[in-house]
């Protein structure tokens, strides 16, 4: 798990993205985005829908490919700009290695419906990472305990609430022992009550210095939990900085206008 607390801004860089560009057809979605996430940091990515937040996350998690730019996971170069404005991706084996560095929690959970909660959590560690089964099971129990889901091992996802499913999805991601965990609007499919449970779990992970990048529309949560906030709109980073600064004292008109919708 996470090392002893690294001082902010001094931990090693786990993920770095440089000059990332991505278009769908003629429509640019990411226009020159750079970020570098250090060990123990929590990043919040906010902004209007269609602003490129999800695409950014999908590029970082290799679900989409960059048109140009460089993506690194610590010592692993996933994609490198070839100098002519095109990203060249590493070979299959390197990509597979990189995938072991991160986890992703989806908006719609994407649990495997035919697997029980336990199978959902242990199958990837066992069949991908070749972790001994009893070890994986012990770890799963531990994670479920932490997710406040002890005793739900033999349930199938459809017997759980959305909030419980999302917490299983978080456990499934953590079971792979990723260096960094990405969240793509983890509570957007949940009602406020269920949202709370999921956010509490993420808060707890933040306290344990889990490195996380969270795309969210929960502003209060983002301000509380994130060290660093990125406000994205129309494929560019409009504003970024320490959470309180960006959310409480936004400098840009566009950020202000967006945050004005969240007066609580």
């Amino acid at each position: 798990m996470a090392e002893e607390t690294a001082h902010e801004g001094t931990g090693k860089v786990l993920v770095s993205l440089e000059h990332a560009k991505k278009s769908f057809g003629d429509a640019p979605v990411l226009k020159d985005i750079s970020l570098s996430v250090r060990e123990g940091e929590v990043w919040g990515i906010i902004g209007p829908s269609g602003g490129g937040k999800s695409t950014l996350l999908r590029c970082c998690t290799l679900l989409e490919t960059l048109d140009s730019g460089t993506l690194r996971y610590e010592d692993i170069t996933v994609a490198e700009d070839n100098g002519a404005g095109h990203s060249v991706y590493a070979d299959k084996a390197t990509l597979a290695k990189a995938r072991q560095r991160f986890g992703l929690v989806f908006q719609n959970f994407n649990l495997f419906p035919h697997y029980t909660v336990l199978q959902n959590i242990i199958d990837a560690p066992v069949s991908v990472q070749k972790v001994p089964k009893d070890e994986a099971i012990a770890r799963a129990h531990e994670l479920l305990e932490k997710m406040d889901l002890a005793g739900k091992e033999d349930y199938v996802p459809c017997d759980l609430s959305g909030g419980q499913q999302q917490r299983v999805a978080i456990a499934r991601a953590l079971a792979m022992r990723p260096d960094v965990l990405f969240f793509d609007e983890p509570t957007s499919a949940l009602d406020p009550e269920l949202t709370k449970g999921v956010l509490n779990v993420i808060r707890q992970l933040a306290e344990e210095k889990m490195t996380m990048v969270i795309v969210t529309h929960e502003m209060t949560f983002a301000r509380d939990v994130a060290d660093h906030i990125v406000f994205m709109d129309a494929g560019v980073v409009v504003e970024e900085g320490p959470a309180e600064q960006v959310i409480d004292h936004p400098q840009h008109e566009r950020t202000r206008a967006f945050l004005a919708n969240y007066g609580d």
């Binding site: 290799l62 679900l63 992703l104 994407n110 495997f112 419906p113 990837a124 990472q129």
Partner: protein, 217 residues
């Protein structure tokens, strides 16, 4: 000829009927997966060939396909096939034909699996083969079971087409007895046997469906 004798003679053909049925399933169920995957392949020539295969095998009568396999080797190549060839022709014909239908059912099932399932598997590091075998296929089985049931039941009755190759399966015998005895009773017996077989299959399919009912999505 009394009823018992008729039933006995037809019963002897039931082995062959059952054999055609089982061989077809054993061959066509996996072959259908391959055809479906080829049909969905990003490698265009393969997809075109699979599409053409499905189109021809679904677009021409099974009876005609059986006869083409039976007599094709001789008329096309002058090849003298042995006395056993009709059994081979029958099994190959049924397998090729049913694989085409199964392929389209598999395809409908595979394409109904949400993209998020593939993405979750990819992020967790599953290989493409693992994703298909562990995540996609089990969910596909549940989704296509009713459609497959239809085809399997059709297959029970289609085995009677082996008649055109002179294979002495149950229905061929029924016809022979009906002709020689000038009686409709063999047909009635045949109908009853087919129906009972289908009842058994319906029962089994229901059990399987119930077993897979432990989850929904």
């Amino acid at each position: 000829m009394d009823f018992g004798t008729m039933l006995g003679l037809m019963g002897q053909g039931l082995m062959l009927t059952g054999q055609i049925f089982v061989v077809t399933l054993v061959g066509a169920l996996p072959l259908g997966v391959l055809v479906a995957l080829a049909r969905m392949s990003r490698f265009k020539p393969l997809a075109v060939i699979a599409t053409l295969y499905i189109s021809i095998l679904r677009g021409t009568p099974l009876m005609l396909q059986l006869m083409a396999l039976m007599f094709g080797p001789y008329y096309l190549f002058g090849a003298q096939m042995g006395a056993d060839w009709k059994f081979w022709a029958c099994d190959i014909g049924f397998i090729l034909n049913y694989a085409a239908y199964f392929a389209e059912i598999y395809r409908s099932g595979i394409q109904s699996i949400p993209r998020g399932q593939y993405e979750a598997a990819q992020v967790l590091g599953y290989t493409r083969a693992q994703t298909f075998m562990k995540i996609v296929l089990p969910q596909v089985v549940k989704r296509i079971l009713p459609a497959m049931g239809n085809e399997i039941i059709t297959l029970v009755k289609d085995t009677s087409l082996a008649f055109v190759l002179g294979i002495m399966e149950m229905f061929t015998r029924a016809q022979a007895i009906a002709a020689s005895q000038v009686s409709l009773v063999p047909y009635a017996i045949a109908a009853a046997i087919y129906w009972v077989c289908c009842l058994i299959i319906e029962f089994i399919l229901n059990r399987v469906e119930k077993k897979l009912d432990y989850y929904h999505d």
